[in-house]
């Protein structure tokens, strides 16, 4: 039952929020925060129960089946934490609707990660696009952005659904995610199914060259929503690669892995190089995400156990620092009313606490030793090297160097230099704003020093 509560509680709370008065920011924030905190507690407490209900058995068996695997447990905890932080940090026009959308996103994504049935997975895959889509419709500068996001990801959703249908018809059941009784499907159609799944995952993650929807989406989505999207929704594709593409089609996956490795390495370098020259602060982080996620795709494609356990560390780390980065950029934008690196500068004296938080976040993102991102990078690359992908490991190290270049450019561009006279001077980080990012930074530090809990795959 607990897993069901994890999905339904945020969905119901999100729907109920629409009953609250539209302008009562404090109330909708507190209700949203309580719901999100409750989900977080339950997500941490959850101990692998599962819940299943036979949906239909003709033409193939489909179960409404939820339950956490090791990986999905951590993803749901990350989701719950990021959602809570995003709710606390929400400070946009129409706050109530934003918080409702965040909770709906949380519910649909929890459903996605907890689904043990491919059909349920595919339905939640499309459902989780909706909250983001409506937020883009409501808040983005250009409505076209919403359509771009939706079309790209829904195209992925379609191939996913087709692949699931084919899988069900050929295998006889879709209740296969994390199912120990599953025996690898052998069919001439298997490569096509794998391609259908992989396309959805490549677009969602995203991986080069399927990434062009992402920078604009990240740029125009308001900070709280984009924090969750970049931190957790991007992991849906990675989760799919591990739990579906790799687990259900092991031999074909191995066969096609070289393609994935090449795309991953291109993503890493391409994202890093483009991030180096972006003028908009959020676009820097968007392209840095392309680069960082490429590293995780590389880890998965290498199929080395060490790299895979490093991938989990990096999935969590990237979630934490990208959520924190987007929230902090939101704080900066609220104060300075611009995201342009050419305009920003000199925050250091006016807003020292904000600068401090920004600094730690940017350092986590560039892989500073002692923070979680470094642990993930190091362990992934040791594994990638062990898998014999020496050149991929070396090129990944180039991306690591570039990461410090673009992250410092972002950090210094906004916080250093003389104070810019025509920028508004606003108060420093408030307590609530600080509280919204503190858990993310604390977790980054904790897992950076002692990532033992995340490395269980290796024990």
């Amino acid at each position: 039952m607990l897993v069901l509560v994890l999905i339904l509680l945020p969905l119901i709370a999100g729907a109920l929020l629409f009953l609250l008065p539209r302008d009562d920011v404090a109330m909708s924030k507190s209700v949203g925060a309580v719901a999100a905190a409750a989900v977080l507690v339950l997500a941490v407490a959850e101990r692998g129960e599962s819940w299943a209900w036979r949906w239909f058995s003709h033409p193939f068996i489909a179960e409404i089946h939820f339950g956490a695997t090791y990986l999905s447990h951590w993803l749901v905890v990350l989701l719950a934490l990021c959602t809570l932080c995003a709710v606390l940090a929400s400070n946009v026009p129409r706050t109530r609707n934003m918080i409702a959308a965040l909770l709906l996103l949380e519910g649909t994504m929890a459903g996605l990660f907890l689904a043990r049935d491919l059909l349920v997975f595919a339905l939640f895959w499309d459902a989780m696009l909706l909250p983001v889509f409506f937020v883009l419709i409501g808040w983005a500068e250009h409505p076209a952005t919403a359509w771009r996001y939706f079309t790209y990801n829904f195209a992925g959703g379609l191939t996913l659904l087709l692949a699931v249908a084919a899988f069900g018809a050929l295998y006889g059941s879709t209740d296969v995610i994390g199912n120990p009784a599953y025996h690898a499907i052998a069919s001439a159609w298997a490569p096509w199914m794998l391609a259908g799944f992989a396309f959805a995952f490549l677009v969602k993650t995203p991986v080069w060259p399927f990434h062009t929807w992402m920078p604009q989406t990240y740029e125009e989505t308001p900070a709280p929503m984009v924090a969750v999207v970049s931190a957790v929704q991007s992991k849906a594709g990675l989760y799919g690669f591990i739990a579906i593409a790799f687990a259900l089609f092991p031999s074909y996956f191995r066969q096609e892995a070289p393609i994935l490795i090449v795309l991953a390495v291109i993503s890493m370098l391409y994202g890093a190089l483009v991030a180096l020259v972006q003028a908009d602060a959020k676009r820097v982080v968007a392209y840095s995400s392309l680069s960082h996620l490429g590293l995780i795709v590389l880890a998965i494609a290498s199929q080395n156990p060490l790299a895979l356990s490093g991938a989990l560390v990096y999935i969590v780390a990237h979630g934490l620092f990208s959520a924190a980065l987007f929230l902090v950029l939101g704080y900066v934008e609220e104060r300075e009313e611009t995201r342009s690196l050419a305009r920003l500068g000199g925050l250091g004296w006016a807003n020292p606490r904000l600068t401090g938080v920004f600094c730690i976040t940017a350092l986590a993102a560039l892989g500073l030793p002692g923070l979680a991102g470094f642990v993930g990078e190091l362990i992934i690359l040791i594994g990638v090297y062990q898998a014999g992908l020496v050149w991929a490991a070396i090129l990944a190290l180039v991306a690591v160097v570039l990461a410090s270049a673009y992250m410092l450019r972002l950090l210094q561009g906004a916080t250093n230099g003389a104070e810019v006279p025509d920028l508004p001077v606003r108060r420093d980080l408030t307590l609530l704003e600080g509280l919204a990012v503190a858990p993310l930074l604390a977790a980054l530090l904790y897992f950076g020093v002692y990532p033992h809990a995340l490395l269980v795959l290796m024990r």
Binding site: H58, Y152, L161, T212, Y385, V401, Y450
Partner: protein, 647 residues
Amino acid sequence: MMLLLALLVPLAGAIACWALGPWLRNLAGWLATAAVGISFVATLLLWGAATQPGGVHLALFSWMSGFDFGLTLDPLSLLWALIITGVGFLIHLYSIGYMHGDRAFARFFAYMNFFIFAMMLLVLSDNWVGLLVGWGLVGLASYFLIGFWFERRSAVAAARKAFILNVIGDVGIMFAIFLIVANVHSIRFADTFAASATFGAPLLYAICAGLFIGAAAKSAQVPLHTWLPDAMEGPTPVSALIHAATMVTAGVYLVARCAPLWSHSPRAQMLVGTIGALTAIVGAILGTAQWDIKRILAYSTMSQIGYMIMGVGVGAYAGGVAHFFTHAFFKAQLFLASGLIIHALHNEQDVRKMGGLRARTPLAFWAILVGVLAICGIPGFSGFFSKDQIIQGVLENGHPWMYGVGLLTAGITAYYMFRLFFITFLGEYRGNVDPAQLGMAPEAVGAEVAHEPASTGSGEAHAPAWVMNLPVALLIVPSVLAGWLLFSTDGASSPWSRFFAAQFPTAAQASAAAVPEWATALIALGVVLAGIGVAVARYATRSAQANAVARLRDESLRMPKLLVNAFYVDTLIDGVFVRGARLLGSLFGRILDPHVIDGAVRGVAASAVGFGVLVRALQSGLVRAYALVIVLGVGCFLAYYVFGIPR
């Protein structure tokens, strides 16, 4: 426990200064100084245990099997830890005076204490990952402190440059760790060294090369040295602590720590020795062409570390490490004394605008004189012993050309250090002379104004003068005497070699050198005296002092472009790598992304039958209509599955 205390007290001090800065105010300086003092005492108390065979070891925790973390204190790390905390203590004390009135006083000490913590972590770790964490964090502390006056553009750029070049080094070490873990399945030094006998020569060379990229970046070795002169943008105590005495010698520590690896790889020895020798002479040559007192010292640091790297690289471990030891004292002293001058002249750093300062800053005069004598290797002063040991050591290890480079560099060093000394202290004070008459470039003049640290200027009482004078005075003692630890009458049993007897088992260097030690000392002295002679002739004679202004203008204007531009290494790095990366980024971001990739996607979309029409029709609708379409679509798919697929 004592070891943990020595490591963590500075961290606690850093956190306290950072978090409580606004309340601590000037107390922050004393608190931070005390934290380093406690760390020093704790380290000192461990002396006895650390020099026992095996040293002190403390297991901490484990990430997973093969990734065990711990601390260790043996003679090598003990030496570094004592210098870090001991010299660090004096520099902290000095900083209380130097940074007085800065509006980020507490933040300065938070960074300084954080640096001490990170550096201790670097030298105390018993494994590669712990070392790399310390390695990265000292780089961070250095970044913070170079860019401490972050409203200055030049400081911000210098900080970023230092950080990125150091990340290149970190990445080199990461690569070495890949190789090590893949072959040893453990990150501990001890396991690695035990297994190193089974490594093939190419593997060993690759590991050493990876580690040396790290060492070269951190220790400013050619061609990764360009950040060090720029790092002088940081406050002078930072230059003394981080960019002279401790952090930049981390590369020397790393190579000495990995003696079991290097000793078995002649190719790696050749690589490191060559780079070290090259750095020594390049740094010295560039040192002759500088006018900023701190940049002269920065290039001399680079050159002196080149000596150390050359020494430890070819197997003269005791000599290389000894030069770290003596250099830490005399270079810290030179920097702190020049800080006294900069302070007294209200942030003037250009030696052309100094002159005749002997009476005005007598302590600085004596301190710099002793420092100069020590760095030149005048017999009796500390640098004499350690430098000769390196020069003799490379010869004994069979590298006569490095021996020659070492001697030549000693001569150049003597020239430019006495040049610094004479221009600064002899003749008339030139602070009031028009900069153009001194041949100073106009843009350099403008930059000087910005050097003023942001001051609260609230008329607070000055910090007592002794906090700045005492550390300088105290450092004179080891600058003179420390070298005598290396002295022995019978050649083998100096206190120094006994201290390191277990650390560096007398390597296979026993081959008798072609030149006996006393002869090397005499040759070196002759070269040094020649260098001093040139400096005297150019700057110290009566006529030279009389026409100082004209002479300096001449020298400024005639300085070879090659030297002014530091052999164009910066220009090359900037032109190829920095611009190259930006060019690629713009190409991808502005052309490939929006036009090629997106264009292809649009093409595919449009060619799908009716899709373009559909999209246009949809886009003209309302939000509610979109929602309806989505719900309908999902409904259709559901119905499709629920009501059956024909088998």
